[in-house]
């Protein structure tokens, strides 16, 4: 089942959890994070919000928990925007195999 399918399923009260794909290698340079997928040789650069989410994904976390934690870190940003951004970012990370879903 894809992450999106699991996410859709989550709308029916089963919330998928997300966590880092263990094959991804992280390199922190200054306050920036670069992720490398050794299987595809793709390199990703994370922005500030991306880095915050990546830090959360060391342990399995569901979307609501991720949104709540990021909201605490960025109290001046409208909650609606944070929810949209976090959801979009996790989707993108899933699409690029940086994170995995667990039901």
């Amino acid at each position: 089942m894809t992450c999106q399918q699991q996410k859709n399923k989550g709308r029916n009260n089963i919330r998928p959890c997300y966590l880092r794909n263990p094959i991804i290698v992280e390199r922190s340079i200054d306050d920036a994070v670069f992720l490398v997928n050794p299987e595809t040789d793709a390199i990703f650069y994370l922005n500030q919000v991306g880095t915050a989410i990546w830090q959360l994904l060391t342990e399995p976390i569901n979307l609501s928990e991720a949104v709540a934690t990021v909201q605490q870190a960025f109290p001046d940003v409208q909650p609606k925007h944070i929810a949209e951004d976090v959801s979009k970012l996790i989707d993108e990370m899933s699409d690029r195999n940086l994170v995995m879903c667990r039901s």
Partner: protein, 286 residues
Amino acid sequence: MPEKTEFFSFTGLRHPVAFINSEALYRYIFTIFRDWGIKKIDPRDEQRPVITIRKTDKGFQRRSKWLSKPKIFRNPIDTVCDFIVDLIHAYIADNEGLLCLHCAAVKFNQGIVAFPNTYRAGKSILSLKLVSCGGQLFTDDVLPITSHGNFGMALGILPRLRLPLPEALGGAFSNFAFEHAGPKSDRYLYVKLSKLEQAELGTKAPIRGITILQRDTAAKPALMKVKNSTVVRDVILRNFARQNSALEIVDRLYSIAEKADCYTLRYASLDQAVELLDDAFGLHNR
């Protein structure tokens, strides 16, 4: 009419380059690839050519494994300009471990300063201005990075300016460029530098600075420190030697950025840029 095929070897390439009815290119190639020890060889003794250029009715047609379809240019200079791309691909493929950055690079007193390629930021013009002020050109477009020590390596290919030169550059720069004029078309002028002004192919030097160019006529000129991560992100986009693993690319670029002074140079005129870079890295003649 029978075809005249000639094979040439180039320093650092395992396979020859084939030219078919393309003698019109030779004088440009011998001049522009200043240090590549180009030698005519016997086609029968060699393996398949890595690049083939054939003169056709439509122009000079080039084939190589880096092209999805043949490229054709009418003008000989334009043909050689574009041939450089494949030749560098071949050089990287035959010299394992090289990273290759899209940037200009000039040697100052303290080592090489690299100027990553940003659209129309004037890296070629600034590099040649620095040469006219005592710097030594390593490259105006592509800088190979050695696998041992991450040194920058000179390519020994003449630098190229887009014509017409902007009037704002002033007479001194134009005089320098035209006094050193090499092969020229309506679009491009190659600048023929001496070995003192341009390092020979294979010359290595440490990278002491990485400077992102930002031409801005409105703001005050300044050389501003930037984070290593900004530089790494910027140069990753400009590395095109993809035979290295992604992790190795990130680690090596970080190691380079860590040892270098990383700046953004905001400038409106060449004189301002030279002054700021001279203060930071030192030029011989100033």
